[in-house]
Amino acid sequence: MNQLLAVLIDGLIYSSWLFIIAVGLTLIYGVMKILNIAHGSLYALGAYSAASLAGYWINQGHAPMGSYAMMLVAAILVGLIAGPVIERGLLRFMYGKDEIVLVLVTYAVFLILEDFIKLTWGVDPYFLYQPYSLLGSFDVGNLTYPVYNLVLFGMAVLIGVTLVWVLTKTRRGKMLVAVIHDREMAAAMGINVSLVYFVTFTAGAMLGAVGGALTAPMISVQPGIGAETIVLAFAVVVIGGLGSLPGAALAAVLVGLVRSAAVHYRPELDLFAIYFVMAVVLIMRPKGLFSVQEARKI
């Protein structure tokens, strides 16, 4: 019973993390039909910037509680700078090309950003432990968890709820959904699709960076975290259905619980379990769990 509880809680925590890293990817795909491999390096950029800024803040002797704000500020800045640069500077010229070509373009951007990170921050790992340890821990039964994991869970819920609210209750959000469904019709109706793309990509970049910033206190920030994370994000996004936010949430929960069970009962299968779930879901529902039936265009 105790182990089951541990599996559930660990699974939910991991699911929150998965959701945060995957939501930006699925948003960008849904609107722009681009599978953004560069999302991985935006995540890494967010982690590194958060580690640098929050680390600097703490080293200067300011209130440690402010480091949380610094992490988010760093992530938002990364999104606000990298997003427009990539979208306006490069992707804008590639719209209309084949989906796979766009994937390769984002892969090229990923490679460039990976080296940019190595050049800027070096290859040594960074440690930002203060935000993680500052909040202490709490007990559930005889299991102890850091309070930071609650923060992670809270942020995931907050991000999910905010996005759903923006997309369904605000006027701009509904215009975005219109672009998701039919780009040409939306443009014919007078929606500025170019602006929607710009805003979406920047928002997706910010979400990716926020994911990285929130993860930075839990890991050692080093080269390669982008590559590891992007495959996990792919798995979650593809399982849930590309472009679907509820799909990403459900997929995150599914993958999180499966992986948590694997870690507790058969640790050597934990990496295998995630991709196995992805393969199984793709076999049973080829377009993911929450996929829209599309008419085939001849």
């Binding site: 010229f93 373009v105 090229a108 490679l111 460039i112 393969a279 793709l282």
Partner: protein
């Protein structure tokens, strides 16, 4: 009627490499061997791209081929290159035949993602298998070739080089003949318009399946040859970034001709070796920038430069 110089060029390159081999410095021979291994894998990728599907998971077969040939020594005590290559072909053939049954129904992003998932499954399995060395991998030593002992002799490097060159040559010639055949031309038709191919009575799925198996076997051969010449294999061969490199070389080279993958692989390996040496923190950036430039200005890959020059004359 455009004259086809491909076979002649291939024979010429074969003879040149075999004759020049003993005269080349060790590092050059090694560089060419590794590029030919990569080139064989990319030859398979080229076939798939001509069929209209891009696989982001060919590292799976590259790794399977390498591990199939590498574990022969551990399991059966066999370290003959010929047997290793046969094992690689057999294992990758069987696995791709099975996986191909599933993959042939998918296209575009989903084909790429599903193939990526399978390659990451193998990566995850190998990473956690301490018997196979986990993330360190293990060393592979080929001791005989068709029963003739080569390890430790002065001809070892040259024989491995020669075997690689010969296999690459045979693969290229067979692929060239295949692409000119009826089924090979179907690949291009599928890329253009699948529905019309079905209306004409050919089976799209069967063709994709056959092409997939062929490309997987080529990748397995490349992996086995790489294992023999490099001497070390690790789970990283199945990681998605390795598959990404194959895709990159395939884009760089273009799908115009069977010579293109080998040319592209050679250029890629050369740049990578020298970039690692002089500037290890910027070579990925150079790779990414090159890929962007090729996509934007040379969508047909480097080979389209040759066809353009020929047309100009």
């Amino acid at each position: 009627m455009k004259r086809d110089f491909t076979i002649r060029t291939l024979v010429g390159v074969l003879i040149a490499l075999l004759l020049a081999g003993p005269l080349l410095p060790r590092w050059a021979m090694f560089l060419i061997t590794v590029s030919l291994c990569y080139g064989t894998v990319v030859l398979g990728m080229m076939l798939l791209m001509r069929t209209g599907v891009v696989s982001f998971g060919h590292g799976l077969y590259y790794c399977l081929g390498a591990y199939a040939s590498g574990t022969l020594d551990v399991l059966f005590g066999v370290s003959d290159i010929a047997v290793m290559l046969l094992a690689a072909v057999a294992v990758t053939g069987v696995v791709s035949a099975l996986l191909g049954l599933l993959l042939r129904k998918y296209r575009d992003i989903f084909f790429a993602m599903l193939s990526l998932a399978f390659s990451m499954i193998l990566y995850g399995l190998l990473l956690k298998t301490s018997a196979l060395g986990s993330s360190d991998g293990f060393n592979v030593a080929a001791k005989t070739l068709f029963g003739i002992r080569i390890a430790g002799t002065e001809f070892e490097r040259y024989l491995i080089f020669a075997v690689t060159v010969l296999i690459a040559f045979v693969a290229a010639v067979c692929m060239h003949k295949y692409l000119a055949s009826h089924m090979g031309r179907l690949a291009g038709a599928i890329r253009d318009n699948e529905l019309r191919v079905e209306y004409m009575g050919a089976s799209v799925r069967n063709t994709i399946h056959v092409n997939y198996v062929m490309s997987a076997v080529l990748a397995g051969l490349g992996g086995a040859l790489a294992a023999v010449s490099v001497g070390h294999i690790d789970p990283e061969m199945s990681y998605w970034t390795t598959s990404g490199e194959f895709v990159f070389v395939a884009i760089l080279a273009g799908t115009g001709n069977v010579l293109a993958p080998f040319l592209g692989a050679f250029i890629f390996e050369t740049i990578r070796s020298f970039a690692y040496e002089y500037s290890p923190n910027t070579w990925q950036m150079a790779l990414g920038t090159t890929m962007l430039l090729v996509i934007m200005f040379l969508p047909g890959g480097l080979w389209s430069l040759f066809t353009r020059m020929r047309r100009a004359t």
